[in-house]
């Protein structure tokens, strides 16, 4: 098989993995280095960043997961790269600045240890023979021996294992060969062996969104627990794309992208904004509102805490305001020591005023008549704002208001 065809098959099989970040590592060698903040080299037709050569070592697999293109019962063309082939493509691409490094995953051939050994062999070649110092993200194969995890972790920048679904029931249904506990064993091992040269960019994982019936609450609870227990750098959410026909799977014509977007927003709230899952979801509302982002939804439910005064609110209170992020909150904290912040100043600090203005006062001033500070008015305006609805359509919107 020609190398070009192999690359097409093995990139096609790898593309559903959402992670492509190249940040969090400081590595410098004779050929290549990493950039701590990460670098995007291109953007695919779906708008996702391309920073790594994302491929599978092989798309042969002994597993039969219902959602996966590479499941053993699928009749598709199979291909396997040799370690030298992967090195050659990665080095040639890196030298021309097409990529920031390599993302190497694999279907499982023979058994987990055998597959891991192939991954280790490839990456050892890159690091030791070719002195490659670019970013490497490798997938850990569930059920492999810990000694192999140790070896791989010492070579790569990031290691990850995908939990795929938030509950064991979901896994039993769609991935009968996979067990969540085995994935978490890997995460636990990586956390416990944390060291300067062992997985310096930390670990991540991924869940498929919309392939099973689990709620956003199930998903976010799982994320929260994993962040707490294993120091994960990231949880990625990947809207399910129907690649296989199966009675077990929903038939979706388009992937649930809006839902995926809401989960990422909520994930940010957990990691950077001091929110807990219980603040934003509960048994009565187990799913995010697709019309309003989670932070604004929370703020509307807690309107009694608002409006907050920009010049006196604490840092953590500033972070609760829709339209204010970590950067703008820090700038506000810095600047207000030296002058009274007015509405006109907020724009210069990166505040998204068209969202924030409903929830704040500047020097006790509200942006408009105070009588407009009510849930209905704010909610309607935020929905129009986010969904790019222009004023004449207000009438239709009252449908969603209740």
């Amino acid at each position: 098989m020609e190398i070009k065809e192999k690359l097409e098959i093995l990139a096609d099989s790898a593309k559903y993995d959402a992670s492509c970040s190249s940040s969090g590592s400081k590595r410098q060698s004779q050929f290549g280095n990493t950039s701590f903040s990460g670098i995007c080299h291109s953007f695919a037709s779906d708008g996702r960043c391309i920073s790594l050569l994302k491929i599978l070592m092989t798309n042969c697999c002994i597993f039969d997961c219902a959602y996966c293109l590479n499941r053993k019962s699928n009749n598709i063309k199979r291909a396997t790269f040799t370690p030298e082939e992967i090195c050659s493509i990665a080095l040639n691409f890196y030298r021309r600045n097409y990529i920031e490094g390599l993302f190497l995953s694999s279907g499982i051939i023979k058994n987990p240890d055998y597959t891991m050994e192939l991954l280790i062999k490839t990456i050892t070649l890159l690091r030791k023979k070719y002195h490659f110092g670019g970013y490497i993200h490798a997938k850990a194969i569930p059920n492999c021996s810990p000694i192999l995890l140790k070896q791989l972790g010492n070579l790569v920048d990031r290691l990850s294992a995908n939990i795929e679904l938030p509950t064991e029931n979901g896994l039993k249904l769609l991935a009968p060969n996979k067990q969540g506990s085995n994935i978490e064993k890997i995460m636990k091992y990586v956390k416990e062996n944390k060291a300067k040269n062992f997985v310096p960019a930390g670990q991540s994982t991924q869940m498929i969104i919309g392939a099973t019936r689990e709620s956003d609450l199930d998903i976010m609870n799982k994320s929260e627990r994993m962040y707490q227990n294993y120091d994960l750098k990231r949880v990625f959410y990947s809207a399910y794309v129907s690649v296989n026909k199966s009675s077990l799977l929903p038939t979706l014509t388009t992937p649930p992208l809006k839902r995926e977007h809401r989960l990422y927003q909520a994930d940010w709230l957990l990691r950077y904004y001091n929110f807990k899952v219980k603040d934003i979801l509960d048994e009565d509302t187990p799913n995010f509102n697709l019309l309003i982002d989670p932070k604004a939804f929370w703020a509307l439910k807690h309107l009694d805490e608002f409006p907050k005064e920009i010049n006196t609110a604490s840092y953590y209170d500033l972070l609760k305001i829709p339209g204010i992020g970590v950067t703008s909150a820090k700038r506000i904290m810095n600047s207000r020591k030296h002058f009274k912040i007015m509405f006109k100043d907020l724009k210069t600090m990166g505040v998204v005023l068209k969202r924030a203005k409903y929830f704040i006062t500047c020097n006790q001033q509200y942006f408009t008549n105070r009588t407009f500070f009510n849930q209905k008015f704010i909610e309607t305006n935020l929905i129009m704002e986010e969904n790019n609805i222009t004023k004449p359509k207000i009438e239709q919107l009252s449908l969603f208001d209740e």
Binding site: Y16, I39, S42, D46, N92, T348
Partner: protein
């Protein structure tokens, strides 16, 4: 009549001039480099100050490296009247040395921070978008068309990244190249080089095709999002991004 102060088209000359004007409490109507074409209403003033490199250390000592970096980035920008912006930014920095960066309510501070950010953003984006071609003598060659003068920033990045490769980065808009000879970076005018002689290596096209087919494959059709791609990778850069140039 406007008083236009002239510096020799380099950072050291500009900083010495600005420093002199600030010390003498002279308010210039504008500051321009020596390619400036004066109109009848302009009076150009050339002071012939010494180009003292210690000026950089002086600014860093009196203020700090972060503030100097902002000035340097403004200097690299394509902003009109950037020299005057640097003058007013420095004026305020000396006035409020400890809090200048927090004073976003001052127009000149806000503008300075914005311009510096734009320059650093463009440099960061291009660290990803630069596409080297391998020439028949193994030298790597890339063309770029940045809005701001980020060539040297890029060359420094690739010097760290590929210390054992010869490379050339060609800024088409400014007609200058950065050359790296495995030791130093040199900036030269494109006229000093016979660019027609450059020839791609034998398997360069093959590698480009391999990359293009990877690029085509990695996008998920069901998630196609033209607008999002364009936001992250503006069309103005596509010409020299090999996987995009055919889509233009």
């Amino acid at each position: 009549m406007s008083n236009i102060y002239i510096y020799n088209n380099n950072l050291i000359s500009l900083l010495n001039l600005v420093d002199f004007l600030l010390q003498k409490k002279i308010k210039p109507d504008n500051i321009k480099d020596n390619s400036f074409n004066a109109s009848l209403l302009d009076r150009t003033i050339i002071l012939n100050l010494k180009e003292d490199e210690n000026i950089i250390g002086k600014i860093i000592n009196k203020l700090n490296a972060k503030i100097f970096n902002i000035i340097y980035y403004i200097y690299l920008s394509n902003q009109e009247n950037k020299e005057l912006i640097i003058y007013y930014f420095l004026l305020n920095a000396y006035k409020y040395p400890d809090k200048i960066l927090a004073l976003r309510n001052l127009r000149c501070v806000n503008l300075s921070l914005k311009i510096a950010k734009q320059v650093s953003n463009e440099a960061h984006k291009l660290k990803g978008f630069v596409r080297f071609k391998e020439l028949d003598n193994k030298v790597l060659y890339a063309k770029i068309n940045p809005d701001n003068n980020v060539l040297f920033l890029l060359a420094k990045h690739f010097k760290r990244r590929l210390p054992h490769e010869y490379f050339m980065i060609h800024d088409i808009n400014r007609k200058i190249l950065a050359l790296y000879d495995k030791k130093e970076i040199y900036l030269i005018n494109e006229n000093n080089l016979d660019l027609k002689k450059l020839k791609e290596s034998e398997n360069e096209k093959e590698m480009e095709n391999l990359w293009k087919s990877f690029y085509q494959t990695i996008g998920i059709k069901e998630r196609k999002n033209e607008k999002c791609r364009m936001n992250f990778m503006p069309k103005k850069y596509w010409q020299y991004i090999i996987e995009m140039s055919e889509e233009l």
